[in-house]
């Protein structure tokens, strides 16, 4: 009965291997890199939202921690970029854990509110601590280097990001189909049923929340080094919403849906740029139509239509 669960992964890897040789110019290569970065973040977020059924409206805040850790620590304190990246992830993990633990003991959708608040606080902190972060203007980020090898060109970044994406897809597929992943999905399906078979619901919710926050933080660091510049917009509320939208449009509880959502919503603003001034309206309309006609998201809807499992 079991199909090859990695089939989709092989297709993703194949596409990633071919892409750099077919993109017409550096503009598109840049777009593809940003798609892939978003895809990794959305994968982590989908584990939280789609599989475990918990919502975060402050993921851009975690992204901001990673991005600014990679900007501030090497610039002001001379830390090695890799250490700075790890420090950002660690701070994110601790902060996410501290916030999530008391909230998950409550019943209901308090996490949405708490993460919303946390994201906004982080953004305000970044904007106001101008002596460290450059305030609203942002700040430059030193290049990432490892063992004397400098990551500078877009081609190099592409391969790094493609590798990260492939590994993330692989790990996500593995996780979903494991005792840990089944416990996550079970607490989404029926919390009381998962409890009576022995799932420590609070622990699992905290674990997946922390994990998805760390994903965001690490990719925030990657974004910072890749772009070479960080601004507070990276960590603002609208970016958080954009990430959630990618999850929902692509398809909740769908690994490949996460990729499709990230690709589409990263590309759409570019594609709509010709509408000049109307692009926000067009963007909103497309999202609304998607939700009306495909409430489960693109990939699950299409998979059901063509009779394939996801």
């Amino acid at each position: 009965m079991k199909k090859n669960v990695y089939l989709g992964l092989y297709i993703v890897v194949a596409i990633l291997l071919v892409l750099p040789f077919v993109v017409p110019n550096s503009f598109y290569l840049d777009l593809v890199i940003r798609m892939a970065i978003n895809a990794v973040i959305v994968l982590g977020l989908n584990l939280l939202i789609g599989f475990a059924g918990q919502i975060s409206l402050g993921h851009a805040g975690f992204l901001g921690i990673g991005a600014y850790a990679s900007a501030v620590l090497p610039t002001h304190f001379g830390w090695h970029p890799v250490v700075a990246m790890g420090a950002g992830a660690l701070v994110t993990a601790v902060l996410a854990g501290l916030v999530a633990r008391p909230i998950f003991k409550l019943k209901g959708h308090y996490l949405a509110m708490a993460t919303l608040g946390l994201g906004i606080i982080l953004n305000i902190a970044i904007r106001n601590e101008a002596q460290w972060t450059g305030g609203p203007d942002g700040m430059p980020v030193p290049t990432m280097g490892l063992f004397g090898f400098e990551l500078a060109s877009d081609k190099q970044w592409y391969w790094v990001v493609a590798l990260l994406l492939s590994v993330s897809v692989w790990a996500s597929l593995n996780l979903i189909d494991s005792p840990f992943g089944r416990a996550l999905r079970a607490l989404h399906g029926s919390e009381v049923a998962s409890q009576v078979v022995g799932v420590d619901v609070v622990r699992y919710k905290v674990a997946i929340f922390v994990m998805s926050a760390v994903f965001a933080s690490l990719m925030g660091s990657v974004t910072a080094h890749y772009v070479g510049f960080v601004t507070p917009n990276l960590a603002d509320f609208f970016h958080s919403i954009e990430l959630v939208t990618m999850v929902v449009i692509g398809g909740m509880a769908s690994v490949y849906g996460s990729l499709v959502g990230a690709v589409l919503l990263t590309a759409l603003p570019q594609a709509l740029a010709t509408f000049e001034g109307w692009e926000t309206v067009a963007f909103g309309s497309i999202l609304m139509l998607c939700m009306i006609f495909m409430p489960k998201g693109l990939v699950p809807t299409l998979a059901a239509k063509f009779g394939k499992g996801d």
Partner: protein, 253 residues
């Protein structure tokens, strides 16, 4: 010593005394039924013993150790399993995955190992899948081993819950109306299934309205009415108890 000892157990929801000073003991290896009219507090009693509700007062002891107020997942580690009157199936998962979740505590739940799919975890997961398929056949769900949970009929879902509970390898299983909503043929099948479970050495506590099934299966019966214990004893004793007859038939015995 009895396996389960319940003493003066009460729970109040505001002014509603759903369960009041109920005491009983359940010996290991028997089938114990809890009956009573609708709203008598049977499911509430299950929720209290399995940790879903916290008792207002009273004591619950499993193997002599107090378990009152412990959370459901702690009780699961002590071998207490249950099914639900209103189905609690994870519709976002396949049928067999629902059963595999039942084996949660017996599997390696490490996040890192899972993400890397280490060979040991993969092997154990394959075994868990085979065990789950075996359990589905045990409860008579041969036809649904490859099914999605949301594509299964009601009667099959009832049995899927039992399979999930059995996947815990429990010592004590609480079945909340396993035959509710089933047709006579399905009811007989569930009757046989409960007998098979009891014969495998699991202590069964049963809430059920089907009196034929209750009388047929139970070693002892507890009768609840308005949250209070009305009677307790063997089927024959309970059947002849004038209070029980009055409660059920409304007769002034």
């Amino acid at each position: 010593m009895s396996m389960l000892e319940v003493k003066d157990l009460s729970i109040h929801f505001g002014g509603v005394k759903a369960v009041q000073n109920v005491s009983f003991n359940i010996d290991a290896g028997i089938v114990y039924a809890v009956i009573g009219p609708n709203g008598a507090g049977k499911t509430t009693l299950f929720n209290l013993i399995t940790g879903v509700y916290k008792p207002t007062s009273g004591e619950i002891k499993l193997d002599g150790e107090s378990i009152g107020g412990k959370s459901p997942n702690e009780l699961a580690t002590r071998g207490v399993a249950r099914t639900f009157q209103n189905l609690q199936i994870c519709m976002n998962m396949s049928a067999i995955e629902n059963v595999m979740v039942g084996a949660h505590l017996r599997l390696d739940r490490n996040l890192i190992k899972a993400a890397l799919r280490l060979p040991t975890l993969k092997k154990r997961d394959a075994e868990a899948r085979a065990e789950a398929a075996e359990l589905m056949r045990f409860v008579g769900l041969d036809a649904f081993v490859d099914a999605r949970a949301d594509a299964m009929p009601y009667g099959a879902l009832k049995r899927l819950e039992i399979a999930r509970a059995l996947a815990m390898k429990p010592r004590l299983i609480f079945l909340d109306e396993p035959a509710a909503g089933l047709n006579p043929k399905e009811t007989i099948d569930v009757d046989h299934l409960v007998r098979k479970i009891a014969d495998s050495g699991v202590t069964v506590v049963l809430v059920e309205h089907d009196m034929k099934m209750v009388m047929n299966l139970s070693d002892r019966i507890l009768v609840l009415d308005y949250g209070k214990k009305l009677a307790e004893g063997t089927g024959e004793e309970v059947r002849r108890n004038p209070d029980v007859i009055a409660a059920y038939l409304g007769a002034h015995a």
